[in-house]
């Protein structure tokens, strides 16, 4: 690791622009709509790129490269059968209700469509989740700064102790994100997300080009990896014949349908970006525009992971001094107690796949463009944090504070509350980041609970939007049953090779899945099914709401949004959506 002044300058330029955007936007924030919904005034392309970028946090960039190194091109299923169809669906079918109902948040839509208790359940679980996600992002960033020795030089110059590095990283990221959201609200977050999107592309694209040139292009990569790593569908007929350990049905239903639709169609973190659009047509195009770069992201984040695992292990790897077992550029996880590599039950070293992107950056980038690559990583962490914080301040202010604590305050008071909630959200995120350093298992446990809470959500929205008979009692009990079903399924199944506990099987092991991923996908399928069935049954037993109350909230009672026939095809949601789906099918076929 040899960072020089040019790397520092690039990082500082980035920080200056991020803060500058917040300062420049402050004078445009006059009321709570400006702060929480960007005044519903942004063009579709800006919202679209922010829609994508808000999700590009640490878990996405680091995680997808890790998954690429572990499973190969099959990771693209998260994009080509997961995210892209879900984004097309939310744009074409669901946005008319989110945007058209003038709801200011996803929980508020649930209030309009169902009742207060369904909103409360969703608002509180969502707000808690965002705080912890942003805390995890913060923690991961501080860890990475330590691992990559980013701050070693300035700390040496300043004479600060090494142990302050973690705290300093947390503090800097917290202050920067806090400052630009506090000043400019959602507009500031969205503008920065757009900037971060371009920066992430600018930082990772040369990495992919260099890596591909090094391994001899896609053909060369194919020769150096097992066959299953370069084919996304071949081997999916059975769980034992592909590296993910999942069969096609579980993949398409669990990942493609339940998990991806559940996330992209109901998570306020992303939907908020579309709600900031300046018109219905722009709101509908937001996820569609986002889906185009999303479709190409596997080449930016999965390929570096695959390249990292395919390369021969260098004798003296950049940035790593001690010798340790490794595959490709990815070294083994080190047991902190003993200082030696961790071994799995078969005696093989456990690879630290999360290092795929950072190690590839260090391997190829000389000082200069290395600063750009590191800045891109920082940008991805910050956009992930900011996305969560803006979603949190909105849900807190509108769905918790205004609904249950102070119903009748002035708009200026809610604007003030939003800024305070931003501070509160950041403080809670810092607390969560420190909780993660001390109790790693608590974080795993919380993420598990959130997975249970999220899994059934899509069933509720699907029934709520497309079946007018669905009732509030049905939705509420359906959600609870879905969460219970997810927990039960997790408690009674276990992935191969795991011991009962946080990985599942804490009740009684009745089934073993070939992989953790298979278990996750099936947990989601069970949760969705339970929620769907219970919602339908309870709805049939309870009194439906009057139809006139549901106009604008349910498909069959709402007039279809007008297609702007004077616009070219690519500016109209429906033809654009079809084109995106076709392109996604073509990508699946190419990498079959």
């Amino acid at each position: 690791m040899n960072l020089t002044w040019i790397d520092w300058t690039i990082m500082l330029v980035y920080l200056a622009f991020v803060l500058g955007i917040g300062v420049a936007l402050k004078r445009f924030v006059r009321n709570s709509t400006d702060f929480f919904l960007a005044g519903r005034s942004l063009p579709a392309w800006v919202c679209g790129l922010a829609f994508l970028s808000a999700n590009l946090g640490a878990q996405e960039v680091i995680g997808m490269a890790a998954s690429g190194a572990k499973y190969g091109i099959a990771t693209s299923h998260f994009y080509w059968i997961g995210a892209v169809p879900a984004m097309v669906f939310v744009g074409i079918f669901m946005m008319p209700f989110y945007y058209g109902s003038r709801a200011r948040s996803v929980p508020e839509y649930l209030r309009l469509r169902f009742d207060e208790k369904t909103r409360g359940l969703n608002a509180i679980s969502f707000a808690t989740m965002t705080v912890f996600s942003s805390g995890i992002s913060m923690y991961a960033m501080a860890k990475l700064i330590q691992v990559l020795h980013v701050l070693d030089r300035p700390f040496a110059v300043l004479g600060w102790p090494h142990s302050w590095m973690f705290h300093t990283s947390i503090l800097i990221s917290a202050v920067v994100v806090l400052a630009y959201i506090f000043l400019g609200g959602l507009t500031s977050a969205i503008y920065n997300e757009v900037l971060q999107f371009f920066l992430i592309v600018a930082g990772f694209f040369p990495l992919v080009l260099l890596g591909l040139k090094d391994v001899g292009g896609w053909t060369g990569l194919k020769q150096q990896l097992p066959e299953a790593f370069t084919h996304s569908w071949r081997g999916m007929a059975h769980a034992n014949t592909n590296p993910m350990g999942i069969e096609a049905f579980g993949l398409v239903m669990g990942l493609g349908f339940v998990l991806s639709f559940g996330y992209w169609c109901t998570d306020f973190l992303v939907v908020q970006r579309a709600m900031a659009a300046d018109s219905m047509s722009a709101a509908r195009r937001t996820p569609l525009i986002a889906s185009i770069p999303k479709m190409l992201f596997p080449f930016l984040v999965i390929l570096p992971g695959m390249i990292a695992i395919a390369l021969p292990t260098p004798v003296a790897q950049a940035g790593v001094t001690r010798s340790q077992p490794a595959q490709g550029l990815i070294s083994a996880k080190i047991d902190e107690a003993t200082g030696t590599a961790q071994l799995d039950s078969n005696g093989r070293p456990v690879l630290d796949y999360d290092l795929a992107i950072p190690n590839t950056l260090l391997h190829y980038f000389p000082t200069g463009v290395l600063g750009l690559g590191l800045t891109a990583l920082l940008a991805s962490f910050m956009s992930g944090m900011a996305g969560n914080v803006t979603a949190f301040n909105t849900v807190w202010t509108y769905d918790i504070y205004q609904s249950y604590i102070n119903k009748t305050a002035t708009d200026q008071h809610y604007l003030w509350m939003g800024r305070m909630a931003t501070v509160g959200g950041i403080v809670l995120s810092i607390a969560a980041a420190y909780a993660a350093t001390h109790f790693n298992n608590i974080m795993d446990f919380l993420q598990l609970v959130f997975a249970f809470v999220n899994a059934p959500l899509f069933a509720t929205f699907l029934l709520g939007m497309f079946w007018k008979r669905t009732t509030g009692h049905g939705a509420f009990l359906g959600l609870l049953s879905g969460t219970a079903a997810a927990a039960l399924h997790h408690g009674m199944t276990l992935p191969q090779g795991a011991t009962p506990g946080i990985k599942g099987g804490w009740l009684n092991v009745v089934h073993r899945y070939p992989s953790e991923m298979a278990q996750n996908f099936w947990t989601a399928i069970w949760a969705f099914t339970a929620c769907f069935v219970v919602t339908v049954l309870i709805s049939l037993l309870t009194r439906a709401r009057e139809e006139e109350e549901l106009v604008g909230l349910v498909y069959s009672l709402t007039s279809k949004p007008e297609e702007d026939h004077h616009l070219p095809w690519f500016a109209r949601p429906l033809p654009l959506g079809i084109a995106v789906l076709l392109a996604s099918v073509i990508l699946n076929v190419i990498f079959w």
């Binding site: 690039i10 936007l25 445009f28 503008y191 900037l195 040369p206 090094d214 190829y364 980038f365 200069g368």
Partner: protein
């Protein structure tokens, strides 16, 4: 909103692109062994510089008709 996002994006890429271009053109060339002998700073710097200028041109052209 009163600020055209293409202006900060364009400015940032112009500055970063110019920095990388200059550093690639004038700096020590022995650091490029790891990047397969390619002067990535110079090449990518030029790409970013051009991209930044395109953003700036797009932003200023749009502003002429007096849009808010």
């Amino acid at each position: 909103m009163g600020l055209d996002i293409r202006i900060p994006i364009g400015l940032m890429f112009t500055i970063v692109g110019a920095l990388l271009t200059l550093f690639g053109a004038l700096g020590n060339k022995s650091i490029y062994a790891r990047s397969l002998g390619i002067n990535v700073n110079l090449l990518w710097g030029v790409v970013l510089l051009v991209a930044g200028i395109i953003f700036l041109i797009a932003a200023t052209r749009k502003h002429k008709p007096g849009t808010t």
